[in-house]
Symmetry: D2
Subunit: 359 residues, 4 copies
């Protein structure tokens, strides 16, 4: 117990490359000589092999208002990844050196009611890798043992590297409950597109999708959407017509756009369920009486993923072969080409970009 | 089958007294010579003995904007009542002359998915007695057999006459789920006060109440509230403190007031449940991200009562002796004194007023 | 209201052909001169076009012990069908002459708590067509308006004719909840096979099937089962291995066989859900402690179909195009060839047989 | 991190008194010179102040067949307790020396799906204190940090010492769901009696209780049962009559007695819920068709308590002041008088016995 368990002959370097926010301005910096994280008694050190670029990383890259208020200068970014365990803290007992792993990016306090009831994702004190503390855009990444997720050998690295956003999609779909139901997905960014294939796999009987981007609507259709609606035009009446007149039974809100939210509620069938994942940038104005109350609607706020119920659901979905993620993970690039990755996301050329992390 | 079943020797009069809206202006008119309703093959005619005055009736009495848009001149008002069956339509088979009954005030279309799955209360085509068709402020009232509710002999007339609003309270409490949970009730008008005693009976471990009226707060405490909060002062921090720092697990929103709604969400514990019954008069502005999404809250829109799941729950609660409704039903008056009844409601002297209906 | 609504020029015959149990012995009798049912004020008369033969009909045909105790001599058999409405009772308002319809075969009392809360299928007083009263193996069939189900124009007659057993499968699958879960189906008779395609459509991530009949196992695989297990050999360890060591999360019990029930519970994952549809012919012996209690299992008894929640689910599944029923409905024959139909079911040559009913 | 955190000047003794099973025969031995547990990096050492005697401890004391097969000679018994933290392992971060605590008695493996989804109580590899490893009938007790439960300062020691069985009762009641429902409790041993007061607090509208012991039935009534039934006589018809003819909506099975289980299912209302906590000593014979399937019943196997959802529910119930545990905790004795404690349980003089543990 007194000596740290390390893989034999696997001596770790002193420094590593990492993508950091070093100045209060747009962009990230590829730093070559970053010190390795210090491994506490309950921590696991992971050699990162692949990391996904999240929309949140793009906010940090673009240095928007939210990022300026939230991100500490000097932080290593990134929170979606997979890799191999290379070192264990003294008290770690449930993970082994050599395990191929991903990890949950939310770190709960561990002592509150949320944390102790499978809801650490909504802990009041939650910390997020790459936002509140150093993240995974680096050769080595440290996470508490509790957050480590062993990756099934049948799951490819690129997929394991995007478990975090895929988990958002799975949590949204499974919380709303789509089995045997008509489903409307408003907004098909990365997670919205994932939600299409997840909703299909989870048994939705009909999937409608709205977005302003014809390319993404076409991709949604490829992933299993039965009908797509151009959100630049009025679409509520069409959505009702497509669902036998009453409207979809479930709305998965993935856009955060106030008008999409209002329109989605207007289309929703009485007694329907809504899962809200998209984050409106500001307060929104809504006719709560007609949208929610008279309709007897049920609305679920969605944040992160359940720890770890969602991860098991996700693993089963991936292993079932019923998810189609290949058209979503459009690019795998080297970490040093990160600027190209962010640009492809900005232009819409890429959907999800995964980076290979250098040794 | 060809002859109408009527109680022997119980010949019905040709006309009856009824409270009607006869002019597009405030007030109601006590009409003495109103024709009895025509009883269709599936209808039941009821001699009304007691009827409750609802907040909705007060809107119609005061002739506010909503009433002017919704109410047809000439209608008989009222939808909360109890009475005795006096005549059956030819195809009626599940009710007998002489039965003491109340009735659900929502009439569903009967053929839509909502109506055929126990959710007629949210039928798109729903009609409400006293609003869309003639109501129960009259000696005789006609309802479809399906809407009739036989009243247990152990339940007093005054209580049976307010099953409609009590059902709202029960539906709100049971949908949110309060058993073993800390509960916040924002707004204690008639239904909010009923919700206090229902939540207590349904197993809430702690009940907090907010309102602007000290008299109603005192009554809420008498009915079982553990703590009361004056909504004229900031109260969110206090509500959190009273619930061990994390906030109440359940909010029952009974005020329809935008600030109460926003404050209630702010106080709510992460992962909490909200049931919205109060109707905001206009669109409201809300920080959906912090109120619902990041918190992983679940929000239930509440309209009417489930038909008839809520009625069975209500009957069991009343029969259990665990409800305390006497302090809520403050006045029983004669129908001819209806103006006094409305005034006592306006001044706050009365909470719930029940009228005795003349023979 | 006083005259019966009949389709113009559609004069009904005085008698009709029907399949009846006329003697207390095996077999059914094709009777040519059966009087048409009398249509009460709330009844609908239907010209039957197609009717499915149920396993229950086979029991009645074979005149087993259960049938001898339950079936009244003289009854017209059959409860799965589709057809066209030809006549309405005086108080019928929600169905029209000419409508293509099927109907729920359970008739609830209409006044009990089960009936008034969407659970008429478990009404204590429930009557079943073709068992407790005349059924649909006849040119004309009478059902209460409440039981009538309008058939969507996109659904074929043969499929509409088997909504009853399909509804059993849908109710079983949806009550257990299979979305994103590993599912074990023990026994693939007609409803078990339907459950395979329903579970697949409803989002099961993995489907295991057990049976003693290799032909049915092969068909189960064709319908979407991922793995099949021969119930003549021990299979519990294999089922666990196929599900990552922990066992399936859901068991759908479709055999009624005591050993299948015991083995299924033994295979079940801790915390798993079981839906019991198969009827054990006698009391069974079971280790309740290990099967249910220590495992924290949840067990759902399944009877009939929810009225009408299951019907809406079923319609959506059929319209989604995600069900594969063609390999299950193996034969469509004329009613006069009913003996051949029963024989093909007995030999296993047929799975589901649908009869065309003569005009 | 390298030094163990100990309370200053609180030097621990080398040995302690403990109740041990030292020979394969009835009885326990009060051993004076037992070595203190070795504290691993994630363990917490607790000075036990109070410990409850469980029915399981009585089995071990009496050395029945189950005990002989399960219990290792030499073990320290006991698993219900409260005390103060006196020493922390090196990696412990969520507990402090001096905290007053109780602890969950089940130790999950920590890595399986059950353990990682709030269901460690049904982990396949679960270990139980006082059964599979040394327990709390000793001055010092060691538990993993994850199992520790901080006791609210308003909760008395005697109550905190019986959180384990109280948690069984709470888990049973909350899983079945009793709010606004009629509830039957079959068997009122210690946990059955606790279930009466918990069901009452959780909002049951009516509570019926069966047992063979008049004294316990009287106590059940004192704790809130509305009606009690002598299980030595036929009682099913009475239970139905007391619940308006349809039977109780919920059964909490606390006896493990085959006839009580069969009778309870016979009394249950169609669509009802059953929670099985009592452990039948052998296989039981049951008419699954009528008990569960035709009735559309839902049956929940109950094992332990949810970790830690149940603990939070329990804390809220205790703090609400709505539980009445005083008549159940009948005796508080010194640990050295343990034989007297077991005898009072055997004779029925005592219900729950709590021991004061020597310093």
């Amino acid at each position: 117990m007194s000596q740290t368990k390390v893989a034999p002959k696997n001596s770790l370097p002193k420094t590593m490359p990492a993508l950091k926010k070093v100045r209060s301005e747009p962009g990230l910096t590829f730093c070559n000589e970053v010190e390795l994280p210090i491994v506490g008694p309950r921590d696991v050190l992971i050699k990162v092999t692949h990391a996904g670029i999240c929309g949140t990383d793009r906010h940090i890259f673009e240095w928007d208002k939210w990022s300026q208020n939230r991100i500490k200068i000097g932080i290593t970014t990134g929170h979606e990844f997979c890799g191999r365990v290379v070192k264990l803290g003294q008290a770690v007992s449930r993970v082994s050196v050599g395990d191929r792993v991903s990890a949950e990016g939310h770190i709960g306090c561990g002592v509150c009611e949320a944390c102790r009831t499978g809801n650490a994702h909504i802990c009041d004190q939650v910390q997020i890798f790459g936002i509140d503390c150093d993240g995974c855009f680096a050769t080595f990444h440290k996470v508490p043992e509790e957050n480590v997720w062993p990756v099934n050998e049948k799951i490819r690295d690129e997929v394991a590297a995007v478990f975090d956003p895929l988990g958002n999609a799975v949590h949204t779909v499974m919380t709303a409950g789509v089995s045997g139901k008509s489903v409307l997905i408003t907004g098909v960014g990365i997670i919205g597109l994932m939600a299409v294939t997840v909703a299909k796999a989870a048994g939705a009987s009909q999937i409608l999708v709205t977005d302003v981007d014809p390319k993404r609507l076409a991709l949604a259709r490829e992933l299993g959407a039965d009908d797509v609606l151009n959100a630049r035009e009025p679409w509520v009446a069409d959505a009702k017509k497509m669902t036998g007149g009453r409207g979809p039974q479930v709305m998965l809100e993935m856009s955060g756009h106030p008008q999409a939210i209002r329109d989605g509620f207007a289309a929703l069938q009485p007694g329907g369920h809504v899962a809200l994942l998209g984050i409106p940038p500001d307060d929104i104005t809504i006719d709560l009486s007609n949208a929610v109350i008279f309709k007897g609607a049920t609305v679920h706020g969605i944040n992160g993923r359940r720890m770890f119920e969602t991860w098991y659901q996700m693993e089963r979905f991936v292993l079932s072969g019923r998810l189609n993620l290949d058209p979503i993970i459009t690019h795998v690039i080297e970490m040093e080409d990160f600027e190209k990755g962010f640009k492809m996301m900005q232009t819409g050329e890429a959907i999800k970009v995964v980076m290979r992390i250098p040794n």
